[in-house]
């Protein structure tokens, strides 16, 4: 019984649920931002203009080959520490360090994830066979019509599974906000272990199971969705 009462005591002292809520907030905000930027990048990469294709490809290849930790450091220590970039101010016009750090971490996560969102969307477009486009033109649909009614619906369905994987990875990557100093699950785990090093394994499993509980449903939902909505070929 000793272990359980110890754990209950830890939960009373440390805001474990609040920490996970911070991870979810980071994931949600960065996810929305990454979806927007990633969609723009994907349009650039599939557009017929070589300059836009090149710029999109350059962004994706550069960001994908850079460690996320480096990007988060660049946002927190670089943008804020060196360049004093302020993303949010409170109503009084003053800078809240906590808020600003949060948004800098979101910015870093979104910039990193956008490259993978772009590739997911592009791979969705790639699942559509050329014959579909040719058939659409053959029955007399114009560019807009064939996009709207034939190509894009199939492309979005093909992108569900890779986008789901991207979301799962983003959820796990939200712990890297630790590098910017955002207090979330990783930091709370560290505080708890430093407070009670004798039950370190139990603490690790609690935090790890928290992530399993968040990540598993996302995986199940996206797999089901991509099976349900997927185009049978």
């Amino acid at each position: 019984m000793g272990l359980f009462s110890d754990i209950a005591e830890l939960f009373g002292q440390f805001d474990v649920l609040g920490a996970f809520w911070m991870n979810i907030k980071l994931t949600f905000r960065a996810g929305v931002m990454a979806l927007g930027v990633g969609a723009i990048l994907a349009v650039m990469r599939v557009s017929p203009a070589p300059s836009l294709q090149w710029a999109g490809a350059a962004y994706v290849n550069i960001v994908r080959n850079t460690p996320l930790t480096l990007i988060i450091y660049a946002c927190s220590l670089g943008l804020w520490g060196q360049l004093q970039v302020v993303l949010v101010r409170n109503e009084a016009g003053r800078v809240s360090i906590e808020q600003n750090t949060f948004w800098l971490a979101v910015l870093g996560l979104a910039a990193y994830t956008a490259a993978f969102v772009c590739e997911s969307l592009r791979s969705g477009v790639n699942t559509v066979p050329v014959g579909q486009a040719e058939a659409a033109r053959a029955i007399g649909l114009g560019f807009g019509q064939s996009m709207r009614m034939v190509i894009l619906p199939q492309a979005f369905r093909g992108a569900i599974a890779p986008l789901g994987n991207t979301l799962i990875a983003l959820t796990k990557n939200s712990t890297v906000a630790q590098a910017a100093g955002v207090v979330q699950a990783a930091s709370v785990m560290r505080q708890m272990i430093e407070f009670r090093p004798d039950i370190i394994v139990a603490i690790f499993f609690i935090i790890a199971l928290g992530f399993v509980v968040i990540v598993l449903p996302i995986g199940l939902i996206t797999t089901t969705l991509s099976r349900r909505l997927g185009v049978a070929r």
Partner: protein
Amino acid sequence: MSSVLFDAPGPRARRRIRILNVVGALVVLGVLAWVVVGLARQEQFTADKWLPFVRPGEENIWTDYLLLGLWNTLRAAAVSIITSLVFGLAFGLGRLSNLAPVRWICGIVVEFFRSVPVLIMMIFFWLLFATSVPFVPSGESPFLAVVCGLTLYNGSVIAELVRSGVHNLPKGQREAALAIGLTHGRSRRVIELPQALISMMPSLVSQLVVILKDTALGAIITYSELLRSAQISATFFQNFIPALLVVAVVYIIVNFLLTTLAGRLARRLDRRTAGGARTAGTIPGAAPDLHSASVPDAGPRR
């Protein structure tokens, strides 16, 4: 150039594309110029910030910091690659075992470590080795923590690669092996596994990129790899942003070489296996995250 999205352009479309091209180029150059001017305004391009890289003085930024850091990065990556391969092979074969309990246990272990963030594992092992394990030399606990965290996560991903590599082989391979009198075990070892290993080679190489990138998480747990050495050197030379840019370029070059290698391998090995050589991004259900970058040039196979 007829693609799914666009027909071959006629004269009018070609003119429009040309205009779009110029406008796009101007916008991209504008954004780049905005960033460069912004950095220059903040005096990030002054000579004293960049001189340490080209003309090292008493304190040499390359030999005293960055190369030592790169060595630590490569050392941790190399060790983790070997240990994750061993882990991945063991658990991948375990998931294919004929004994149901072995399959379940390996499945639970693999799924668990795939869904726990690597940083969480690293922090756990770091504090575990530092406080509770007596025989670990005190300076080595960050290194061991990095290796353990990377091994458990990437080993699990590789285990999935092994499993899906075997599953993707045509059924006839196994049936033929059984028909000529091989046992199940021998069919796995002699017929299926060698082909599965060849077909997973490209995704394996892109997983190496993931391992190399994730060693940078070690900076958070005080492992002196490339990123952390750059950070430390920057406090000495007062050039944080230039140091970060240089380090980013080093990472990008190393990873880009690995990615190119993966694309080449995918094309060369495709012929040598009945399963088809695939890259991580194209295997449904395997290597399930944005960490495992798919190889850009290989494209999906239909």
